[in-house]
């Protein structure tokens, strides 16, 4: 029996693919199974799929797969809409309440939403309703702390980001919600970057003035799944890497074009050049590691930022001095070159596999 939902879904997909290919082989008369073999195989697959559906709620055919995707999108939109509704609902009526009532409503909403998550989780086999309820609980908690700050005129502080991060991560692991994992990691990134900024004497809201503040935790997030296994949580390892990579590449991209935002005491031109070089090297390294480890999120993110770095560099060099048609022609030809190189790598990998 597979350990995780990902493994269970992979097995279900493999069974479907196997059945489709078997059908084709029989039609082409390349393979003929005896009746008892076919019946035995079908019975085995039926029992296995029933077990996988019962334990992991996997999608057992293309139709259910499409429906699952639609449910995920609906769950996300529903969570965002309900969170926005909650925010505007509170703004609409909070002025009609005294401070004690306001505090009671805010705290009550947070605990009520956690209770709803617990009750929904006990009955929800698919997990979609649980994730929606969990998102709403996170929105309630953020609203809780933010509004308490407004009601009592509390000095704004980055310290609120840490409990938000922990709350989101607890719900993410409790409900296997990747979106909440992203929310928690973003809050954590903001908190650590703001703290590093304040240690340097800056105001916490100026976190964006020094993009390098994001780099330490970005690196930690990229390698964390190697040290703390996320195998039991579907897609969490990829999410850590993806968030970490974006938190790494965006500051490097910013500093590659805006050297004044760096801590380094060098000339701005040298800083920008250094970060441009670092961006290219890091993107290439990320692509290489991602293809070796078969981590598609690394390959795709590395490739995306490699292209962004390349095109911003080409823009710097040629936009002013070249006719526009020629500039875009060269961009197009570079894209075609990428296609040829990637196609060749793909064919080579296919040859190696044989």
């Amino acid at each position: 029996m597979p350990l995780t939902r990902d493994q269970a879904q992979q097995r279900a997909d493999d069974i479907q693919a196997f059945n489709r290919e078997l059908q084709r082989l029989q039609t082409e008369r390349a393979l003929q199974l005896a009746d008892d073999q076919r019946q035995h195989l079908e019975a085995h697959h039926r029992a296995l799929l029933d077990e996988l559906r019962g334990s992991f709620d996997v999608d057992h055919n293309r139709q259910t797969k499409r429906l699952s995707l639609s449910m995920r999108i609906s769950s996300l939109l529903g969570a965002l809409a309900l969170a926005a509704s909650l925010l505007f609902f509170f703004y609409q009526f909070w002025g009609l309440l005294g401070e004690t009532a306001q505090v009671s409503v805010l705290v009550g909403f947070t605990f009520a939403s956690l209770l709803i998550v617990h009750l929904v989780n006990r009955r929800d086999q698919s997990g979609y309703f649980t994730k929606l309820a969990a998102m709403l609980a996170f929105a309630c908690f953020v609203l809780n702390i933010t509004m308490l700050g407004q009601i009592f005129n509390v000095q704004p502080s980055d310290k609120a980001l840490l409990p938000w991060a922990i709350f989101a991560l607890l719900l993410a692991y409790g409900c296997e919600a990747r979106l909440l994992l992203v929310a928690g990691l973003l809050c954590l990134l903001a908190y650590v970057a703001a703290r590093i900024g304040t240690w340097g004497g800056g105001y916490w809201l100026s976190v964006g003035e020094r993009p390098e503040n994001f780099l330490p935790l970005a690196l930690v997030l990229i390698v964390l799944p190697q040290f703390i296994s996320q195998a039991r949580f579907s897609g969490f390892a990829a999410t850590y890497r993806l968030v970490g990579l974006i938190a790494l590449f965006l500051p490097v991209l910013a500093l590659a074009n805006w050297g004044t935002g760096s801590y380094l005491p060098w000339d701005n031109g040298i800083i920008e050049g250094s970060y441009q070089l670092l961006g290219f090297i890091t993107a290439a390294l990320v692509i290489w590691i991602g293809s070796r480890r078969e981590w598609p999120e690394m390959v795709n993110t590395g490739l995306t930022f490699f292209i962004i770095f390349l095109f911003t560099k080409l823009f710097d060099w040629w936009w002013e001095i070249m006719p526009k048609y020629l500039f875009f022609l060269i961009i197009g030809l570079i894209a075609v070159l990428f296609l040829l190189v990637l196609g060749r790598l793909r064919r080579r990998d296919g040859g190696l596999a044989r």
Binding site: Y91, N144, Y173, C175, G202
Partner: protein, 260 residues
């Protein structure tokens, strides 16, 4: 196993929510306990919502914004007046390092001394009075000059507005040592120490720091005064006064309102 893990996580989230709310409310109670750090009686000139362009129909709450300014070298009102090197050093900012390249520096947190209707405001009024007298004297010498007439009207308008309309709250000093600031400005009914944020820019190869905002810059109006004040904040002819108390953590709250 999955259900147990989920329950533990939810229980952890509940405990966290309880702790955080306890900390926030505990800090608020502490802020409002003991003797106030300062108490200012501000009018609609210093505490208003008048300049809010977005009248949000869907927000039933009401917050009033602190309106403050700074005194410039020539005694005019200018909120971006930079601070002196001595003041900046007291705020922990290095003023000795020369500006070798236009490096953007992050904003800095500091304590700010706000003065209500004190020497800074009087200096502004005296300067405006002098300008008005000067404009009147020039017009008296050449009574038919339309430009001089217009200049006198403008001088009178500025004096009138500064005397009757504009805020009397001036940010006069900064620093990191709260006790030292309070020793220098002991009158707690005229001087409030608050948190503020300094921003810098480079002018003529020199780095200048100015006060970009007070934090928190707005004060929530308690329920008992909300209806009365919300009717007055947009009305120039409906004056009001509000007593703002700054507590142990220098966080403000409205402790009283006076509505003639």
């Amino acid at each position: 196993m999955k259900a147990l893990s989920s329950s533990r996580c939810l229980a952890g989230a509940a405990v966290l929510a309880l702790l955080v709310n306890a900390v926030v409310l505990g800090n608020t109670l502490y802020n409002r306990s003991g003797d106030a750090d300062s108490q200012l009686r501000l009018s609609q000139r210093e505490l208003s919502n008048r300049w809010s362009y977005f009248d949000n129909q869907e927000n039933s709450g009401l917050s009033l914004k602190l309106q403050w300014t700074r005194l410039n070298e020539d005694a005019t009102r200018y909120s971006d007046t930079p601070f002196s090197a001595e003041q900046l050093r007291a705020a922990g900012i290095d003023t000795d390092t020369p500006v070798t390249q236009p490096k953007r520096l992050p904003e800095r947190d500091t304590l700010v001394v706000l003065e209500l209707d004190g020497p800074a405001h009087q200096a502004t009024l005296q300067d405006l009075q002098r300008r008005r007298e000067k404009a009147a004297a020039k017009l008296a010498a050449t009574p038919d000059d339309a430009r001089l007439k217009s200049a006198l009207e403008e001088a009178e308008r500025m004096l009138r507005n500064s005397r009757d309309l504009y805020s009397r709250l001036y940010a006069v000093d900064i620093g990191l040592d709260r006790d030292a600031l309070r020793q220098r400005y002991p009158d707690r009914r005229q001087y409030a120490i608050v948190h503020g944020v300094l921003s810098s820019w480079i002018t003529n190869e020199k780095r200048e720091w100015h006060l970009s905002r007070i934090t928190p810059g707005e004060v929530s109006v308690p329920y008992q005064w909300r209806d009365a004040l919300s009717g007055r904040v947009k009305n120039d002819d409906a004056p009001y006064e509000v007593e703002i108390t700054f507590g142990q953590r220098l966080e403000p709250w409205i402790s009283d309102a006076f509505l003639p």
